[in-house]
């Protein structure tokens, strides 16, 4: 990792000839170090991870989950949400596919809640920018969010609040899913092709988020004084956590873009809990997803769902801030 620091040192201080104590040099250094690090890691790790998980499809997860005991299923669904690749434009077919197979609504929701929060890219970036402890913490909280969210959805018997469209589809479960044999073995060359395609697709999708995220992080790093955060947003200020969560909702970003921002916020002394709460609410609760889920959920359920997420993220933030203080 030190390699990227040298690279940024060389670029900013030697090539650009900037003095290390200027604000602009601080910003640029942050920018080049993070950008180079993130892209190198993304390329290597997306490729490797894609090799491993080629063939892991939602259909297989569904078949696996539909035979499991209910108690463990919340946890398993949440865990699978973290590792299964799926594009948010597939959330409705996935939702229906799960529920049609007789998987309880809450277990499906556990999958859908964790999915945007925890994914391999986010974990890789967290590990390399903020350390493995933060990474484990983040993954843990994300998975627990899925489990608790799912339990809550079943507790309030949320099936009542599905749209007529969704309820109709539930009646006629389809048999056409057997066309493809999902458990067939995949050859190494097929895995390689899959991994290369994934790499291209993911990079194409996230590069702009990385640039935006690192850019904002860099500006923050260079130009926002530490005293500002300490004075106004320190751990002792209880209201800052819900405020961070509320600010995070309209800021729609994926996990890749928000991590460099979080790195910069943490370095400036924003408390751990507040940062976590902000990150989670930015990636988990978003308007596009709201619009998507509106097709299968009545407004009432959507509002309950979002309120629940906000409550949970706020609580998480408070708990972590509390432990940071003592």
């Amino acid at each position: 990792m030190i390699l990227f620091t040298y690279f940024a040192d060389f670029l900013v201080y030697t090539i650009f000839g900037l003095s290390a104590d200027t604000k602009i040099a601080g910003s640029l250094h942050f920018f080049f170090e993070d950008i180079s690090k993130i892209f190198v890691l993304l390329i290597i790790l997306i490729y490797l991870i894609s090799l491993l998980r080629a063939g892991l499809k939602p259909e297989r997860i569904r078949n696996f989950l539909s035979g499991k005991k209910r108690g463990v299923s919340y946890f398993l669904a949440s865990l699978f949400g973290a590792v299964t690749p799926f594009c948010s434009c597939s959330s409705i077919p996935l939702f229906m596919g799960f529920t049609q197979a007789g998987i309880p609504l809450g277990i499906t929701m556990a999958f859908l809640i964790t999915s945007p929060i925890v994914n391999e890219i986010a974990l890789v970036l967290l590990g390399s920018l903020l350390g493995w402890k933060f990474m484990v913490l983040y993954a843990g909280v994300g998975i627990i969010a899925g489990v608790l969210g799912g339990l809550f959805i079943d507790l309030i018997k949320a099936d009542r609040y599905l749209t007529p469209f969704a309820q109709n589809m539930l009646g006629n479960s389809s048999e056409s899913t057997t066309h493809v044999n999902y458990s067939k073995k995949i050859s190494l060359s097929e895995r390689n092709t899959f991994a290369l395609t994934e790499l291209r697709t993911i990079l194409k999708r996230v590069w702009i988020w990385v640039f935006a995220g690192v850019g904002i992080g860099a500006l923050f790093h260079g130009f926002v004084p530490e005293s500002f955060i300490l004075n106004y947003l320190g751990a002792g200020k209880i209201w800052t956590v819900p405020a961070a969560v509320v600010v995070g909702i309209p800021l729609y970003s994926n996990a890749t873009g928000i991590i460099p921002v979080a790195e910069s916020l943490l370095q400036k002394g924003l408390p751990l809990g507040t940062t976590l709460a902000f990150m989670m609410s930015t990636v988990a609760a978003s308007l596009p997803e709201f619009m998507m889920l509106k097709q299968v959920m009545k407004i009432k359920l959507l509002l309950i769902f979002f309120a629940m997420l906000l409550f949970f993220f706020t609580l998480t933030g408070w708990i972590f801030n509390f432990f940071t203080i003592i």
Binding site: K57, C89, G97, N172, S174, T177
Partner: protein
């Protein structure tokens, strides 16, 4: 004559797969019919869980990912 259908909710991935398919059959258009289905109910009725999906004569050959022009040609047997 083979019947190709691309299922997708209209996201970028789905459009890309559609474009690649059209490219893949360039010069052989008369051998295939290509159809795009974006209607959510039809997608769900097919039992599709991750889009895009490409079917050839009703058989799912690509699910949940984009395929390159070359891959599509291999699947269709166009060298």
């Amino acid at each position: 004559m083979q019947n190709i259908i691309i299922y997708g909710s209209g996201c970028k991935k789905c459009q890309k797969l559609y474009i690649n398919t059209l490219e893949a059959i360039t010069g052989k258009e008369s051998d295939y019919t290509v159809e795009k289905i974006t209607d959510m109910e039809s997608i769900i009725a097919e039992g599709i869980m991750s889009t895009p999906v490409l079917t050839v004569d009703g058989k799912k050959v690509i699910t949940g990912q984009i395929a390159s022009i070359k891959t599509i040609q291999e699947i269709l047997g166009i060298a």
